[in-house]
Symmetry: D2
Subunit: 252 residues, 4 copies
């Protein structure tokens, strides 16, 4: 039983640092690398691609809105074609830096507000899927199970990795509780680990205590929370103890 553990990385910019890339590269199996628009820059991308290769971590693009100040977390309405090319640009840029280590990009996951908007917006979801498909039809498209992202992946013939979140509470309909709701972010490493194992086993316990079937291929741990490294480490250990083999998505 394989499961992938992914984290967003490379979110600094110039003199700014963010997150815990070095430690997390020793724990996760897939890295979603910011591509210079909401965060990230060429040097950071180069270094992460090289380190991911060294440690056998799967390399992925993590494109977002062109909104550095808002760190890609602001909801932005824009033309779907412009968005599509923005995504293709970012994936291409990461390919350029990944050429140094000969480490091919394996997956693409939209960042922040774009991820959330595209999960519900057919136009945005298809724009991203078209960009991914045009660049490389073998790339794995990562997103929320059952969302417009999954539909767009299927429409364009892309492999889709269903993503679960170790450190976020779920609503009864399978969506994530908004961050603004108290308690919706799970900061306790043990609690996150327990949810990770449950998700890997195909279910989740929602905020109301309901048990929900929920198939996932990859589990996300957030990289920029203060406890990120402890949570990721605890999640990995629990998954291994539960008998799961951790491996980059699509590596089966």
């Amino acid at each position: 039983m394989n499961i992938d553990l992914n984290a967003d990385m490379g979110e600094g910019f110039g003199a700014y640092r963010k997150g815990h890339d070095e430690e997390l590269l020793g724990i996760v199996t897939s890295a979603n690398v910011a591509c210079g628009f909401h965060g990230g820059d060429a040097t950071i991308m180069h270094n992460l691609a090289a380190h991911a290769k060294e440690r056998g971590v799967g390399l992925g693009a993590h494109p977002g809105f062109n909104d550095l100040w808002g760190f890609g977390r602001r909801t932005i309405q824009m033309n779907a074609r412009d968005l599509e090319y923005l995504i293709a640009y970012q994936i291409g840029a990461l390919q350029g830096l990944a050429a140094y280590s000969g480490s091919p990009i394996r997956h693409v996951k939209a960042h922040g507000a774009l991820y959330n908007m595209a999960a519900k917006d057919e136009g945005y979801a298809n724009a991203i899927a078209r960009a991914v498909h045009t660049i490389d039809a073998k790339l794995i498209f990562v997103g929320l199970p059952g969302s417009e992202l999954q539909k767009a992946a299927e429409k364009h013939g892309l492999a889709f990795a269903r993503e679960g979140f170790c450190d976020r509470l779920y609503s009864d309909d399978g969506s994530l509780m908004p961050r603004s709701v108290a308690g919706s972010v799970i900061g306790d490493p043990a609690a996150a680990a327990a949810q990770a194992v449950r998700l890997a086993n195909g279910e989740v316990i929602t905020a109301t205590g309901a048990r929900l079937k929920f198939q996932v291929d990859t589990l996300c741990v957030h990289g920029d929370e203060p406890a990120a490294v402890k949570v990721a480490s605890s999640v990995r250990s629990a998954l291994e103890e539960a008998g799961f083999a951790l491996a980059p998505m699509g590596s089966a």
Copy 2:
């Protein structure tokens, strides 16, 4: 006798337009496309790659400093490794957009202050050459004949296209007269055409009237001058009348 005619293109950004891309695509044989840092954006890059393909114009990357306000014309001192990755990022991004039309990138030419600095600075020249070589060792590297750019191309085993300028006065040492010197920009279409034919024939008459041997593979016309289209058109006609076949650089 083949000669290439190149122009910088795609220099707008968002709502901003600049230059005369549409008209020039019908005249030149190689397009140097801005890659989003000193100018250019993903949509513009996509559209130019598609139009270049339709018209048989050779597609090239035109990377510059990360300086949109200064349009890449400000002299900036930076770490050579950071610069190298910045260049690789931009070339990769254009490859991402060129994937839409299946039009491969054929050449790379540095933009503005970066071109001028790298012509004299071994560190900068080698940074660009390393980026080009890493992304695709078959890319043609464009630059001033005899400059550090040419030396870096040779050092890295890259094909080098020696560039001449139709609309700029030359000094006796083969360098360009600075723009700040009155008369250094040739705005008259007939004069530019005459210089183009002379350059294509392997010589140039300098500002002092001296005759200089000067071998070139590609001739640049500037795209953002008011008379750009007339100059380019006049240059092309004169070259054809003089018996030159216009073809993208590297096209046998």
Copy 3:
């Protein structure tokens, strides 16, 4: 009977030019100057403030979202406090440049998507009004009559200038027809002039032919349309022929 004619200006950035500032400064009575976030830069702001002073044109700030690529036309959801400080920043910056000519800022008008969003969104409208009030409680706040912008101005004790649009069709409810609707932008100088005179007289004829009461203090002509100068010139002549005295808003 006084009426003000305003236009958005200073919308270039670095090497990019946009609009027809020079010509329009000879026609309009109020200039809304972009403040560097959706367009505009320090040099452009300085020069416009100086030229506005020379020509007796009222100087105003035209703050927008921090979205240069989108030219402030993309709808962006953000925290109202952050927005408020963003506005204060931009007004302060223009004050800094206006210090050169000793030309005080007289009014503030939100730009693009921010104008449209704030017209309907109480939170955004109050954020802008708070920023204006904090910087200088004597500044005139410009906006759509009857909108949340007007309510926010009244709540904060700011003078409000009700704005009409010479070159846009109105719906029966007094709102502007979306630009996406064919014919919603009036490009014919004579038609724009006729609408301007009607608006100055306190009414407008809507897209359905209905006659609507509509009191305005200032009339906007758009500066970046190809026919902008002709439209503005025609509007000004028609207003003068109809007996209106053109004067900057608030000049009693």
Copy 4:
């Protein structure tokens, strides 16, 4: 005997944090606030102006090059007039945010590469001094003693605060040893404190052990080094023990 202790602050941007603003505000007497170009944003500037007021810390503008990626540390050649307006823009923007707390700006200190370039470049130094003088001729201009910055201040009739550095080695000619030289940054709190007391007493011991006369009005502690808070705290204690009264520059 009064002495001022200053630190660069507010150097974050959007989701990025940098430095130790909260702790340093309890130690220093003057805050140099980044103004949004090399770092800083409107919300950060607002909050710092408010907190500086609460704690009796003197508020200053810390303008830099428009180079967020390079954090204002890259050497950039640009037109002096453009630079001047860039500086005026940034000071004006901080004034806009400082209006919230009614805390007037007391001083201006150039940031990073701009500080170093202007110390030696008459054109740059005068550009900054003109901007400062135009905005408010009572602002104190901070810079290296004996540099072009001091000459420009005198030429424009600005009060000048001579700055010393607690945590940097000096050369025999009174200039700072480049950061690239090993040992040029003093990370040890006790050593920095000793140098601070010596500087406050009008001398410094250089890298070669020579004793140099060196009059200063304000002492800088760097805010973004890991040991910044310990160094600043140690410097303050040592100055107080040596009998100096710490007070914002210009406070009589």
